[in-house]
Amino acid sequence: MSTLLLVTLLLPLAGGVVVAGLPGERQLLAKQLTLAISLVVLVLTLVMAVGFDPGGERFQFASSYTWIADFGVRFALGVDGIAVVLIALIGVLVPVVVAASWNDEPTGGRSMKAFFAWLLVLETMMIGVFAATDVFLFYVFFEVMLVPMYFLIGSFGGPRRQYAAVKFFLYSLLGGLIMLASVIGLFVVSNNQLGEGTFAFDALRQLEITPGTQKLLFLGFFIAFAIKAPLVPFHTWLPDAGAEAPIGGAVLLVGVLDKVGTFGFLRYCLPLFPDASRFFAPLAIVLSVVGIFYGALLAMGQSDMKRLLAYTSIAHFGFIGLGVFAFTSQAGTGAVLYMVNHGISTGALFLIVGILINRGGSRLISDYGGMARVTPLLAGAFLIAGLSSLGLPGTNSFVSEFLVLIGSFTTQPVFAIIATVGIILAALYILQMYQRTMHGPESLTNPRLRKARDLDKRELATLSPLIALIIVLGVYPKPVLDIITPAVEATMVDLGATDPAPTVAEEGTR
């Protein structure tokens, strides 16, 4: 039993309660406290990531306590290589978001204290959803996670925040409820087979479920994750939520919350329902590839920068979905790395767009132009994050995109080739946005942009860790890959999938 993970999980929650309890006029203290707690959590997650032994047990830092005996539910935590890197991503993104939201002024006289309190509560939920090794506990985190995000969007978002918050909540809740049917179904199956119902992931993995039942249970999980990820056609909530959320909320929504969907595919759909996964893989791959193009084409058509980024994410989730359902360890590893990288580069892009909106007061691309002359640092950061997002070699996303494509080529050559075309579209929508806002004639519609400030120290401090990660992981991704690979291989063993081709390429990339 290790309590490190438990402490990492509960610390933000406790901090959130304290911050919420502070008197209303102590706004500064609330911010400082939030930043301090999130930094401590960052340190803890890094300690975990460094201390994680890739050759050791599948689930490390595990702890388990009886929770509801009647349901066989345990408060069981533990991280595999996939979860640990995603939790580290959360650890990095939350302090960044805190720093980025430092000077935000909420509309309608609301207090930022509530924002930071919800943020910390959200951090606990996000860590919990990746750290749970009990399906029931996972479900609880999966659902409760909605509440803080709902309040972040609804209270601190843009003009259409009410609509976006409700849409986000209802879509996710609908998915969650469908998953609940499968969760209960799993319990009933385990009760029939093992004599006592359980939700423990390791026990459920051993079940022999008949193919028909597997398909039904798989669908319950799949729909929930497909809404969360989101795959086309379950995606319509994301552009609204992403556009209306406050920048900090949007970073976590797209950077982390959506990963729960793709993480869920890997952690729950594949190992628990191997037959059904194989049966439905073509469907999932088609949806993913459709998503790559649909997201990219719609991104090109957007005039609102935040909506554009939301649509690019749909395209990126298409790549991740392809990697997950290609059933090779390379593609799987690539998909997990993609989740991390997407969190970093899209997170950075959202922050940069947020700074731009702060300067110009508009989300529309057409209201900007020639900003590179006025704000060279911002433009430089934008370019690096943008290049990472389109997968330029030397940036982090290239590694993951490449792994996904070569990994899926061995089992799904046709779809891998089609997906490759998506990279070209990615270059188009990112560079178009960059060009229209940063180059060209200076904007005439908004004279105040000519005197816009460049990045200040706080903004530099917010962006530099992400920019640094983009470069470092682009050049030397090995430490992260070393952690991910064994976990993905274990998943492939659960699934009963073997890599078809000799893995010469893998030697090259590792």
């Binding site: 929770w67 509801i68 005996a69 009647d70 349901f71 309608g108 006289g109 479900y139 609880v140 659902e143 409760v144 909605l146 509440v147 309040f151 609804g154 209270s155 925040r161 009410q162 918050a165 409700v166 909540f169 209802l170 809740l173 609908l174 409820l177 469908i178 609940l180 049917a181 209960i184 179904g185 319990f187 009933v188 009760n191 039904l216």
Partner: protein, 509 residues
């Protein structure tokens, strides 16, 4: 010569406590000076219910049939009696609220004075209150307890009347908006009387078939006979009409919104929580004990009824603009969820239904208590638009109401989720997969109108002439605090209560 049946006074003590308190209440009304009546009545009523609660705890585990097998003392009966007593305590605290900040007592001083007359206006300005509500509520609660414990259809019918008549009266006693309240009472009375007749006719037909009104006797007669099933099936159908009406199950739900809206809110809280518990208690006993071996007659029907109820409750709630009407439709939807557990016809079905009733009752009383607090010059502010921006004026009340709404929506870590989980598990185990999926979709629809209220309270700008949030009186505060604490506790650590429900899930007879 008729021999006097033996009576197990200890086994019946919860019921005796409550009915005794009701009788004492009548005497108090007659002999205690008006000045001291309110306090005395409150103590008597609370004493009766707390006494019932304590005696349930003391005799837990008892399994017997008493008064010539007419009343059962068994796990389900005691669990539901305990639930009723607990909910009764919370409801009595709300009924007794007369803090001036909450507009004084919610009950009219003289119900017989025609609304709108000079005398009525004169009475409305006086602080005089009437205290008959306490014995009336105690009688109703005693009737509910017998209703859930009756092992004999005739006793069940008597209990049905004992619980219904005081409720009809209570519904008509509102101090404000009296015509609405009286209309609600009349509507409830007429429809209720009508369905009582259904129940009685069904009882007669069943008697014609089985030659007995004893539930076990019916069970035995229904097993392997050559008799025509016509009387049996029609009789059961009519019994069910009467029971489903009380439980507020579609298509017998039409009274619910009007009565919930018109009745004084504290009475609505009492009715919504306790009547549902009693009605489902009776449904469980009739179906499981009396008709457990002929589930092919009732299970498909209830399967369909549950689907209709889920759809009617959750879809119609979407269009409501009045908080109390919305909660009424939500209670219909919840009746559908409860039925989902009931049709399992298994021990899990029994224990999950009982657990759900407890969680639902606590959350419902809490929600109506919050409704009592939000007031404008005209009394309670029922229209949803008036709730806009409430979180700014009173974050605590908005927070507590959000908790109740999230529980009703079934979000994890609240009691509502645990309740849903157990009934769905029971239903899935009994092979009712499609029904579970429909129920889950209905909860997604239902979530929308609960969330809408949270949106209104938190994300909308308050209206200029919006209602104020009254400072709750001490009694309401206690009631609210218990309901809120239970809602969280049964969501986070439901283990002990689940065990209790599991152990109690054994019918005698």
């Amino acid at each position: 010569m008729i021999e006097a049946p033996s009576v197990s006074y200890t086994g019946l003590s919860p019921i005796l406590f409550v009915l005794g308190a009701a009788l004492v209440g009548v005497l108090v009304e007659a002999f205690v000076p008006r000045r001291q009546r309110w306090g005395t009545q409150l103590v008597v009523a609370l004493g009766g219910m707390l006494g019932a609660l304590v005696s349930v705890a003391l005799i837990a585990g008892k399994q017997e049939l008493t008064i010539s097998r007419a009343v059962a003392v068994d796990g389900p009966a005691l669990f539901l009696e305990g639930t009723l007593a607990l909910l009764g305590v919370l409801a009595i605290l709300l009924l007794a609220e007369r803090s001036p900040d909450m507009g004084g007592s919610a009950f009219v001083a003289q119900a017989a004075v025609p609304a709108g007359t000079a005398l009525d206006r004169q009475l409305a300005t006086q602080a005089r209150t009437q205290t008959e509500v306490f014995p009336l509520a105690s009688f109703a609660l005693g009737g509910m307890m017998i209703f859930a414990a009756a092992n004999n259809l005739l006793v069940m019918f008597v209990a049905l009347e004992v619980l219904s008549l005081p409720l009809y009266l209570l519904a008509g006693l509102a101090r404000r908006r009296r015509l609405l309240s009286q209309e609600a009472a009349l509507k409830y009375f007429l429809l209720g009387a009508f369905t009582s007749a259904f129940f009685l006719y069904g009882l007669a037909l069943i008697y014609g078939y089985a030659g007995t009104v004893d539930l076990r006797g019916i069970f035995d007669q229904a097993a392997g006979t050559e008799k025509s099933d016509a009387l049996f099936v029609i009789g059961l159908a009519m019994l069910l009409v009467g029971l489903l009406f009380k439980a507020g199950v579609a298509p017998f739900h039409t009274w619910t919104p009007d009565v919930y809206q018109g009745a004084p809110t504290s009475v609505t809280a009492f009715m919504a929580a306790c009547t549902k518990v009693a009605a489902f208690g009776a449904i469980l006993r009739v179906l499981y004990v009396g008709f457990g071996n002929s589930e092919w007659t009732w299970r498909p029907v209830l399967y369909g009824v549950a689907i209709v109820t889920l759809i009617v409750g959750s879809v119609l709630a979407l269009t409501q603009t009045d908080v109390k009407r919305m909660l009424a439709y939500s209670s219909i939807a919840h009746a559908g969820f409860i039925l989902t557990g009931t049709i399992a016809n298994s021990q899990a079905g029994l224990s999950s239904t009982m657990f759900y009733l407890l969680t639902y009752g606590l959350t419902t009383i809490g929600s109506f208590a919050v409704v009592m607090l939000v007031r404008d010059a005209d009394g309670e502010a029922g229209h949803l638009s008036q709730w806009a921006g409430l979180a700014k004026r009173s974050p605590l009340v908005a927070g507590v109401f959000s908790l109740f709404l999230l529980a009703l929506a079934g979000i994890p870590l609240t009691s509502g989720f645990t309740g849903k989980f157990v009934v769905f598990r029971a239903a899935l185990d009994a092979g009712a997969g499609p029904l579970v999926v429909i129920a889950l979709l209905a909860s997604a629809v239902a979530a929308f109108f609960y969330i809408r209220v949270i949106v209104l309270m938190y994300f909308s700008e308050p209206a200029d002439d919006g209602p104020t949030v009254a400072v709750p009186g001490m009694l309401t505060t206690i009631s609210l605090a218990i309901a809120a604490a239970a809602t969280v506790l049964l969501g986070v650590a439901p283990g002990a209560v689940l065990d209790l429900a599991n152990q109690a899930a054994q019918f005698v007879g």
